[in-house]
Symmetry: C2
Subunit: 305 residues, 2 copies
């Protein structure tokens, strides 16, 4: 069964890989070369789908200085349409809705083939951001314009650790049409388990069928990347930071940590009966980190079967 | 090698079991029956040693009402001397030092055979407690009275989560003569890993050899026991609480959680190269919980080899 039908049926067991589109300044030919190289690298993984992120500046999110400068990227919808025609499985396109006017979103929604594309709508990075469209309005636009287009939402275990209501937000998103949730990168296994657990038992109480969680994992090959993950709001336990800081090969250490966290979370979700998929993200653009991400995805594929 | 020599050599790989002495009001014959039954139950585990706790009221620790009423127990030193002569391996006797006058501690220290007994000295449960002897004074008394008597200290991962200096306290205790550290019950794996990690890298920085950590695990068969663990300051993640609250068989659920946490922590310590032992504690006096603790110890013994 393909990814879209599987998600619509509330089933997990799938593997996706997340990409950030090339920088906005990339020439068309070069963008095609990047897309071709990416497809060649990912095809052997037999992925159930791709995720394309929609990068926002998020300067409002955090007063601290961004460890890497913000680089605008190609629009993920355009990148898909113009460069990824050869990609064989469904693609989940993120939309940072506050960047767009309602008319832009409407026109993009209506142009999508619901048999090939899904979308994850992401609200403004902070309450202070005005935003051109709210998450609720974007959800309504999708429903009105292209109700067959599968909708997903983001799940933030770290927000649950602070506010203890993320499971209720997820259920509200589910009522607004979400059929799956994608987490940010998971480094803190307890934060992820706490969220899944509260979501699971709240579904049980309400008699609602849980939708698939898509857990995101990445490797982190340097303290700079780690610092960036923290800036993005990812909770990284101290022992993970220590091990990376002292490892002869931080990338291999990170690979081992991600594998352990992922397999333990998978075991936990199986025990609970919560459907889940796995997303592997390449946070950095360093070649060795990309290759380690691909290796991680291949290994996690084996654990999904 | 027996437990005492192993610890003095800085080596881990051992299994101990922790007991609370019978209630103070217990008749002498009845106390002997309890001791005999305990020995019979524990002998097949081939334990490297026993731990005898010294229970304090700890009313100062927490303003909240104690979930179980405080029951004074027999003195662990007396219980050992009067009832556990048949026990074949070394015994670690806790001393809640603030309960005793210096002269009482001195006389107990001097009476111990350093080939059979070790001691863990525990300071006052809160700063507000006046206490008859301070931890530093008790450490000095042990050194002056019976320097061959092996000394251990307590390690509190939850305190590290709040103050981030527990690894420095451990190193100070090590300088005061401690040759091992026993944790309180571990439910939050990240808190334990964070402490071990900070301790390990601080030892590395100082060129100090790490001493064995003894990680304590228990099973928890009811929400009341869980509440008591929290009252004692044990950090229990939300997902563990949820699973116990909803499990058809909470004791089995807790058993599985403890096994998973213990094996993962063991793997982690092996990766770091920190020596460790395992302590299984029976928190409750319910027969099924005691039996599950014994089963847990037997299973963890297999993972130590």
């Amino acid at each position: 069964m393909d990814l879209i039908r599987r998600i619509e049926a509330g089933q997990g067991g799938f593997l996706v890989f997340a990409l950030t589109p090339p920088r906005l300044a990339t020439e068309r030919d070069e963008a095609q070369d990047i897309a071709d190289a990416t497809i060649a690298r990912l095809l052997p993984l037999d992925l159930d789908g791709l995720i394309l992120y929609d990068i926002d500046d998020e300067a409002d999110r955090n007063a601290a200085e961004r460890p890497f400068p913000f680089m605008p990227t190609l629009d993920p919808g355009d990148y898909l349409a113009n460069h990824l025609a050869a990609w064989p499985s469904p693609v989940i396109v993120y939309r940072a809705v506050s960047k767009y006017a309602p008319a832009e979103l409407r026109s993009w929604f209506s142009a999508q083939d619901p048999g090939q594309v899904m979308t994850v709508l992401v609200g403004a990075p902070s309450r202070a951001t005005a935003g051109r469209t709210s998450l609720a309005d974007a959800q309504a636009l999708r429903r009105d314009t292209n109700p067959a287009l599968s909708l997903g939402g983001v799940a933030i275990p770290e927000r649950h650790a602070r506010r203890e209501d993320e499971h209720l937000r997820l259920l509200a998103k589910q009522e607004a049409g979400c059929r799956f949730f994608v987490t940010q990168v998971v480094y803190d296994i307890n934060a992820a388990k706490n969220l899944v657990s509260d979501y699971h038992y709240e579904c049980q109480t309400r008699g609602v069928k849980p939708v698939p969680f898509v857990f995101t994992f990445s490797v982190c090959g340097s303290m700079k990347t780690l610092e960036f993950l923290r800036w993005l709001g990812v909770g990284v336990p101290r022992w993970i930071e220590n091990d990376l800081a002292h490892a002869a090969d931080p990338l291999e250490a990170s690979y081992g940590q991600a594998l352990t966290t992922a397999t333990e979370l998978m075991t936990y979700c199986r025990t609970l009966g919560v459907p889940f998929g796995i997303n592997v993200e390449s946070v950095s653009i360093r070649r060795v980190e990309i290759e380690a991400s691909v290796r991680l995805a291949a290994q996690l594929r084996a654990h999904l079967r």
